[in-house]
């Protein structure tokens, strides 16, 4: 026995001399990961992705990507004898005649919703804490792209079963493609291999769904993780945490154990949901037939915002404008709007860095309040998105709350312009208020709520100093000065190149930092503490002279 072990050990040693895996492992296993629940959001996305890969492979064994017409003879009675595509037939077969098939289908679909939701929430964390700042901008771009790719992947999956809901979705997407000016129709013919619907689309979507996109996603996830490893993890401000260290647990064994445990929890929750809660009951929708449609035809939630915009947009069209028909009613809400949104999303780190002029590396996270304008922008974007998502479900909302779809449409049309700016203003003021409160905490301590009446009749409130931990968190705030507009000419009287852009930048920068509350300097805090000391001493004196008892809060 021991000789075997020895042998293995020697073999490993020999292998290690050539490929220094153990030292590589040793270095990396000791990598430190800080700990916070919000750092596990990305993990939820990662684990859902793994679940998707595993269950997806199971589904490919029986799924038939074919639009060939067959007649159903499986065990779901209400569809027996009905002509349908082979794709739908096979999805029904998986649901009713493959052992565990329905469970796996439901795990796959719930995991898809989890995957997207977790990515989005993970993105919120990154955004609101400024984790996307240098040097992590590129990882933000990868993350944002994965959301976009995940969205397309989800749409492709949703379309594969070729049920009534899938078909309506594909029909709408075909319309969106057609709305693209000039090339739309050609593009549609190219993608569908001829007229919609044709017989090529499902097989093509299948390759896209099981091969191309999972490949791209896998590579992106890998790169994403490598970059996290390489940059090391960011951390929240706190005692002992600086921009130059990482405080936390070693990757091995603490972090791996926790991460492994969490994987099984994510998996368990997904399986429980799939076992007890229906998702995408394709049998109830029936096969796709172009002249059928059901009330409540919606995409999965992550595409809802596009549907919401489409439902709200006025019915504008120009016939024969520049020799073409322009369907503004589809082009703007379904192509331009999402396009702009994605462009803003992917470029945000660079836009912000340009406006702030902040080129330093950041490893310490921002508290959202300390980046008031960014936080407000994020809240504004979420509001915009949220209104569109709700409008995407306008018929269900109308039905559930006894409202009128027409009123909801108008609410959306107006609200999508009115509410985001209001939310922006409110969030920004709220953040600035918190900044002010932090400043007061540093300078004067916390209001204890205890009022003391001095013998000469004056009322004072006793302030207790905050703990060192709290202080460390607040002190981590770094104030950046807004960019100044350059003079029109330099000292030699030569006009500054690109003056207009620079002026704009200065304007934006001032607007961005505008009313930021400066963190008091250490000297100011010390002065305030002295002052506080003096005040307390004075109060004790007064009380003493009057022969009044001295409360313990003052003497501590």
């Amino acid at each position: 026995m021991s000789t075997v072990v020895d042998g293995v050990g020697k073999a490993i040693g020999r292998a290690d001399d050539r490929a220094p895996i153990s030292s590589l492992l040793k270095d990396n296993l000791r990598k430190v990961f800080p700990d916070h629940w919000s750092f596990m959001l990305g993990e939820i996305a990662l684990y859902s992705f793994i679940i998707l890969l595993l269950t997806g492979v199971y589904l490919t064994i029986w799924y038939q990507p074919s639009m060939q017409e067959v007649v159903y003879h499986g065990s779901y009675q209400p569809l027996v004898g009905i002509p349908m595509s082979e794709a739908y037939n096979s999805a029904l077969h998986i649901s009713f005649d493959v052992r565990g098939g329905l469970l796996i289908r439901q795990i796959h679909h719930w995991a898809a919703l989890f995957f997207m939701a977790a990515m989005v929430v993970h993105m919120f964390r990154i955004f609101f804490t400024g984790a996307f700042r240098k040097p992590r901008e590129f990882n933000w771009v990868i993350g944002g792209s994965m959301i976009l790719i995940g969205l397309l992947e989800g749409f492709a999956g949703y379309s594969l079963p070729d049920d009534l809901l899938s078909g309506v979705g594909v029909r709408i997407v075909a319309g969106i493609i057609e709305s693209i000016p000039v090339v739309g129709t050609y593009l549609l013919f190219f993608l569908f291999g001829g007229q919609y619907p044709g017989h090529d689309f499902i097989p093509r979507l299948y390759t896209f769904h099981v091969l191309l996109v999972p490949g791209i996603l896998l590579a992106s996830v890998g790169l994403h993780l490598v970059l996290i490893f390489y940059h090391k993890h960011t951390q929240y401000p706190g005692p002992g945490r600086t921009n130059d260290n990482v405080v936390g647990f070693p990757l091995f064994p603490v972090y791996t154990a926790k991460a492994g445990g969490f994987f099984f929890i994510v998996f368990g929750v997904t399986v429980l949901m799939a076992a007890f809660v229906t998702i995408n009951p394709i049998w109830a929708y029936g096969p796709y037939v172009p002249d059928q449609v059901t009330a409540g035809s919606q995409p999965d939630w992550y595409i809802g915002f596009v549907d919401g915009a489409l439902r709200a947009f006025p019915n504008w069209e120009s016939e024969n404008f520049l020799g073409h028909t322009w369907s503004w009613n589809i082009l703007i809400p379904c192509v331009l709007m999402p396009g702009i949104l994605v462009a803003l999303l992917l470029s945000y780190p660079f836009l912000e860095a340009w406006i702030t002029g902040d080129t330093r590396e950041h490893h310490l996270l921002d508290r959202p309040r300390n980046a008031a304008t960014r936080t407000a922008l994020g809240a504004m974007a979420i509001t915009f998105y949220g209104i569109l998502v709700i409008n995407g479900a306008n018929d269900i909302v109308a039905q559930a709350f006894n409202l009128s779809i027409n009123q909801l449409t108008w609410f959306t049309r107006i609200g999508v312009f009115v509410f985001p700016p209001l939310v922006f203003i409110a969030t920004r003021r709220f953040c600035l208020g918190l900044q002010r409160r932090d400043r007061d905490l540093l300078m004067h301590g916390r209001e204890s709520g205890q009022i003391l009446r001095l013998p000469h009749g004056e009322f004072i409130e006793i302030h207790t100093p905050i703990s060192d931990d709290e202080k460390a968190v607040i002190l981590a705030k770094r104030d950046i000065a807004p960019i100044e507009a350059p003079p029109a000419t330099d000292e030699n009287g030569i006009a500054t190149p690109g003056l207009r852009a620079k002026k704009w930048r200065a304007k934006l920068s001032n607007a961005y930092f505008g009313e930021n509350v400066k963190r008091p300097t250490l000297a100011e805090i010390e002065a305030a503490e002295h002052h506080h000391h003096d005040e307390v001493a004075h109060e004790i004196d007064v009380l003493h002279e009057a022969g009044a008892p001295i409360p313990s809060e003052l003497t501590d």
Binding site: T278, Y285, V289, G296, W301
Partner: protein, 260 residues
């Protein structure tokens, strides 16, 4: 599929369509006569009693002779089926003027409803209350009913018969509480925003197939577990963002707190 078989399919489709038209045309002639000749089903006492009930409970809106008023439409020629549907589902008498009369507990008992129907039927020919044979679905084809339901009803009532919103605050109600007779009557009379599916557009055999399918929707267990209201991806999205993500976030917070 090769192009010849496509063409062949098209040709067969045309033949089927023509055959369908001929059959429904002939069927219609036979059926309408039975459906509308049924005033004789009611006795004069029933008609008299119905008239009395009508003048007490319905005339304020529909007029003393059911000729209609600004508060309610004329009922002449709507037939016994319309009255039975409206009163047996509790829609009539309408409580207060509203967007749409909702389904509620009926105010009249079966005899009174029959009397009201008799009275309105006596005013002019209209669809009769469907008989028990009309509702007998033993020979009806369930799967065909599903196709017909998805073609004719699902766009308003949703794929699972759970209802949906229409424009301007109107709605197609859930079909989960409707009896087969009420379904049949709804198709015959097209209440409110619902189109009329007379025996020409939807022959009785097809109506029965639809009844069978709705009955399946009402009674069959959901194979996938909890159906979340069978409203499609919206409730699924709400579920993942609340229950699903909520559970995982709770665990994440718990793990995060555990170690610190």
């Amino acid at each position: 599929m090769t192009s010849t078989s496509v063409r062949r399919n098209k040709a067969t489709g045309l033949v089927v369509l023509l055959a369908g038209l001929v059959i429904t045309g002939v069927g219609y002639a036979a059926v309408t006569s039975t459906a509308e000749a049924s005033v004789a089903m009611y006795s004069q006492t029933q008609i008299d009693q119905g008239k009395q009930l009508f003048q007490q409970g319905c005339a304020t809106c529909h007029g003393l002779a059911a000729q209609g008023s600004s508060e309610g439409p004329s009922l002449i020629g709507v037939g016994a089926a319309a009255v039975n549907f409206q009163v047996a589902t509790g829609r009539m008498p309408m409580a207060q003027p509203a967007n749409q009369a909702p389904r509620k507990v009926p105010v009249y008992n079966d005899d009174q409803i029959a009397a009201l129907a008799a009275y309105v039927a006596s005013l002019g020919p209209g669809p009769a209350v469907p008989s028990d044979e009309d509702l007998n679905t033993t020979d009806a084809n369930l799967a065909e009913g599903g196709v017909l339901f998805r073609t004719n009803c699902a766009q308003c009532h949703n794929f699972a018969g759970h209802g949906g919103a229409l424009s301007n605050g109107k709605y197609a109600p859930s079909l989960m509480n409707a009896t087969p007779r009420q379904m049949y009557e709804a198709m015959l009379t097209g209440p409110q925003n619902m189109p009329v599916f007379n025996d020409k557009t939807l022959p009785p055999a097809e109506k029965r197939a639809i009844l069978k399918y709705i009955n399946e929707l009402q009674t069959a267990p959901s194979p996938g577990g909890l159906a979340l209201g069978s409203l499609g991806p919206v409730t699924e999205g709400i579920f993942i963002w609340t229950a699903g993500l909520g559970a995982l976030l709770a665990v994440a917070v718990w793990i995060g707190a555990k170690v610190r």
